[in-house]
């Protein structure tokens, strides 16, 4: 048997292709991004980036209604964007198997919150599978499609960062499961697919019947497993947490749930009745714990294990057995503070110049989600809100609507990919209601933060083929925006004067700040025409250091000495040269 070392995301891609999907769609989002990239790599014709997660789920539902299998992948907060169709798709049900991947991010490695999307399963009444390693990811993904068809429901597949990005050994084997598949084609069935109230009332009742038969299935399905051992302690767990339980509590009996909605009541009651003490080990919300308590079982859970962040073998061991953290010894005495290493904008990044200006002008910046959020850190310190994709545009408008006296001191920034994901409506609103806010679209031609994925503004599709590219000016004018300016992200003077004019303007306006992502232009990043500082002319004013460029340091790393440019690292972006008030920076000869 051939062994493979696969990440969870690679295993989802293989499983979906094994199951015979006709189309996969997604919007990039850590930790889910590589699912679609891997599908595109293995079968390019079957993958499409969608502009946002709602579009992805609706597109997938169309594929399903046409009788084909399909998968839509997103990060946990993407499900919020897609929630509207999801709740009603539980009513309609499916034709072809419809699988929605929610890749959750406990510990917020790369997210704005750590919501537990198991709640979505019980809320929307959509079954949810939760695998524990890449082998199970592959198997569960394959099984999810026939499950969806059998019970006429979309199916959630939930991963967490450690499942999606962790790698483990997989024996793929052959998957030759013969099952009845729906016939592709058009089916006109308004009672099932047209959710007007009269039909939806009936489908809601029908949904509960489908869930009820799924609950019977859950009692004996292979997704759930009892591992009886010592009956002193019984642990109920799922997903990644199962692994920590097996290492921390090797003697305990374990009920491992792979289908976490709906829960198998009889199986849980039977397991609980056989163990003296019942503990639920789960990250984030007390989802399983509440399920047990609903059944009247006195389970311990969040009283032992934190509701915040990730857990691991050590936290489970300490919580349940009471062993303490190892004491400090002479090998582990505290160290002097080591400087932190936050992620920073790349040397040569097109976002640096505009944030330098916004910072210098002391402007309030409603921010958004992307690389440019890094401008929150010193020395730029130029982001003042970040909530979710698309929010900044509307927050700036909201602020402008009530703080007229602050007009001229507020802007919103939003990346090109984020803008096309959920910024369009905000522009429409500003134009419609005549709110004189200024929005900066930071156009770097890619979805940079998640690893440079193409989008409708990049002019390329997921396979890198040329496609229709958004015409920004026409788009913005079509939304009602009269004042649209396009500026060069590397021209400080042009950006400065345009910014000054537009934020003062008593009308809605948009500035498109254009400059290709550093990593997109040069791979690997090449050095072009580096600059240097003339020590004789330099007055040590420190202005160039306010750019937060990793190619500029102080001589001898001493806070009192003049700055110096590392010519091996400088990409020649010229921002420090343009910003120097004394002409001390010049091109290296």
């Amino acid at each position: 048997m051939k062994k493979l070392l696969l990440s969870g995301n690679e295993a989802i891609a293989r499983g979906a292709l094994d199951a015979g999907i006709s189309l996969a769609t997604a919007y990039p989002g850590t930790p889910s991004t590589e699912i679609l990239e891997n599908i595109a790599r293995m079968d390019a014709g079957k993958a499409m980036w969608a502009p946002n997660e709602k579009i992805a789920v609706e597109l997938a539902s169309g594929v399903s209604f046409a009788g084909h299998r399909t998968i839509a992948a997103m990060k946990h907060v993407g499900v919020n964007v897609a929630a509207d169709p999801l709740f009603t798709l539980a009513y309609t049900g499916v034709r072809g198997g419809l699988v929605i991947v929610t890749a959750d991010d406990p510990e917020l490695h790369s997210s704005q919150n750590e919501q537990d999307n198991r709640r979505y399963a019980s809320f929307a009444r959509i079954p949810m599978l939760e695998p524990s390693d890449s082998q199970e990811v592959l198997e569960f993904t394959r099984e999810a499609f026939p499950l969806s068809e059998r019970f006429d429901l979309p199916v959630f597949l939930r991963t967490t960062t450690r499942i999606s990005h962790g790698k483990s050994v997989v024996i793929a084997g052959e998957w030759d499961k013969e099952e009845k598949r729906p016939d592709p084609g058009l089916v006109k069935d308004p009672a099932k697919f047209v959710m007007v109230p009269a039909n939806a009332r009936i489908r809601h009742l029908d949904l509960e019947e489908r869930i009820s038969s799924l609950k019977d299935f859950a009692e004996s399905c292979s997704f759930n497993r009892v591992e009886m051992a010592d009956t002193e302690l019984g642990v109920v767990t799922s997903g990644i947490s199962y692994n920590y339980v097996k290492e921390a509590l090797p003697d305990a009996s374990v009920l491992k749930l792979g289908l976490v909605f709906p829960l198998p009541d009889k199986l849980i009651r039977d397991f609980a009745s056989r163990c003296r003490r019942i503990i639920v080990v789960e990250e984030l919300e007390p989802y399983l714990e509440e399920g047990l308590r609903y059944l009247g079982i006195e389970a311990e859970g969040k009283s032992l294990i934190s509701r915040f962040g990730e857990i691991n073998t050590g936290t489970v061991r300490r919580a349940v057995t009471g062993v303490r953290e190892p004491a400090e010894d002479n090998k582990h005495e505290p160290l002097d503070p080591i400087p932190v290493r936050p992620p920073v904008m790349c040397i040569g990044c097109p976002h640096r110049g505009i944030f330098h200006l916004l910072s210098r002008k002391g402007i309030f910046v409603a921010g958004d989600i992307g690389c440019y959020t890094l401008a929150v850190s010193p020395p730029l310190s130029a982001i003042h809100t970040t909530v979710c994709m698309g929010a900044g545009v509307n927050q700036a408008a909201g602020i402008e609507a009530v703080l007229q006296e602050e007009h001229g001191k507020v802007v919103a920034v939003i990346g090109d990919s984020t803008f096309l994901h959920s910024g369009l409506g905000g522009i429409l609103n500003m134009a419609y209601n005549g709110i004189p806010a200024t929005i900066l679209i930071l156009d770097n031609f890619t979805t940079a933060m998640t690893g440079r994925q193409n989008h409708p503004g990049s002019g390329f599709d997921i396979t890198g083929n040329r496609t229709r590219q958004v015409d920004w000016e026409t788009l913005l004018r079509g939304l009602g925006m009269e004042h649209v300016r396009i500026v060069d992200a590397y021209d400080l003077e042009e950006m400065d004067s345009t910014l000054t004019e537009e934020i003062k303007r008593d009308a809605p306006s948009v500035i498109v700040v254009r400059g290709a992502c550093m990593l997109l232009r040069n791979q690997p990043v090449k050095q072009e025409n580096p600059y240097e500082i003339d020590e004789e002319i330099c007055t040590n004013c420190g202005n160039c250091l306010k750019l937060g460029c990793l190619a500029i340091s102080r001589r001898n790393l001493s806070i009192d000495e003049k700055p110096v440019i590392d010519t091996q690292k400088c990409t020649g972006c010229t921002l420090c040269f343009q910003g120097c008030l004394f002409g001390a920076i010049e091109a290296l000869e």
Binding site: K3, L5, T30, P31, H109, S110, D133, T161, R162, H165, G166, K167, S168, V169, Y242, N243, Y244, K246, E247, E310, N312, T313, G314, R317, E325, P326, D329, N330, K331, H332, E333, L335, D336, P337, I338, P339, V340, R341, P342, P343, V344, M345, C346, C371, L374, P379, M449, G451, L519, L545, G548, L550, I552, S553, R554, L557, S558, I559, D560, P563
Partner: protein, 199 residues
């Protein structure tokens, strides 16, 4: 060091975005799998390209459940960068071996003189009594013919310490790397391997 049968061996690899930490851990995990071990590995993607800290957990043994190492249970620390190596000391078990590159990559606060960078990291680690092997990754990589193979130099040094035949490493490089990079990486592996003396 000796490992208890049935208990996984824990390797922590730390560096800075761009050093090839994840690629190296990928190679290591393949070598371990092909040598017949169960193996799991975990790291966080996303921020690594932007100069942030990169941490990769690799665990191998007869059977591995968790992809994450517990604090104070690291058996081998592979440090690609001085400050990150030092920052990881609290993860080390009492018998841990440390393989460290001399490479220093300064964060912004140190570049501008606001925060002291621990250039003395290796002395501190040795003073604490850890078994430390220092490898000049960059120097040997240049000798191999490509400065970017410093990560593979470190893997060569690790190969000397782990109970796995060096051939397994060579095969993994041939299998997992594009053809034109194979020979330079094999040279880097060799130089790293020879740089470690087993007492």
């Amino acid at each position: 060091m000796t490992t208890v049968p049935g208990t996984p061996t824990n390797i922590l690899m730390v560096g800075v975005g761009g050093q090839g930490t994840i690629l190296a851990s990928e190679l290591l995990a393949h070598v371990l799998m092909e040598s017949g071990y169960d193996v799991k590995k975990s790291e966080v993607h996303g921020m690594s390209q932007r100069g942030g800290r990169v941490v990769s957990h690799v665990r191998f043994g007869e059977k591995v459940y968790s992809p994450l190492i517990v604090k104070r249970e690291v058996d081998y620390l592979v440090g690609f960068e001085l400050a990150e190596t030092l920052r990881s000391l609290e993860w080390l078990g009492p018998e841990a071996r440390v393989l460290a590159d001399r490479k220093a990559i300064l964060p912004f606060t140190s570049l501008v003189g606001e925060a002291r960078y621990p250039f003395d990291a290796l002395e501190l680690i040795r003073k604490r009594g850890f078994d430390l092997t220092v490898v000049d990754g960059e120097g040997l990589a240049v000798e191999a013919g490509e400065p970017k193979t410093a990560n593979i130099v470190l893997m060569g040094a690790l190969a000397k310490l782990l109970p796995i035949d060096k051939k397994g490493w060579e095969e993994a490089i041939k299998r997992n790397m594009p053809g034109k990079f194979v020979s330079v990486n094999l040279r880097a592996l060799d130089l790293g391997y020879s740089a470690v003396e087993i007492a």
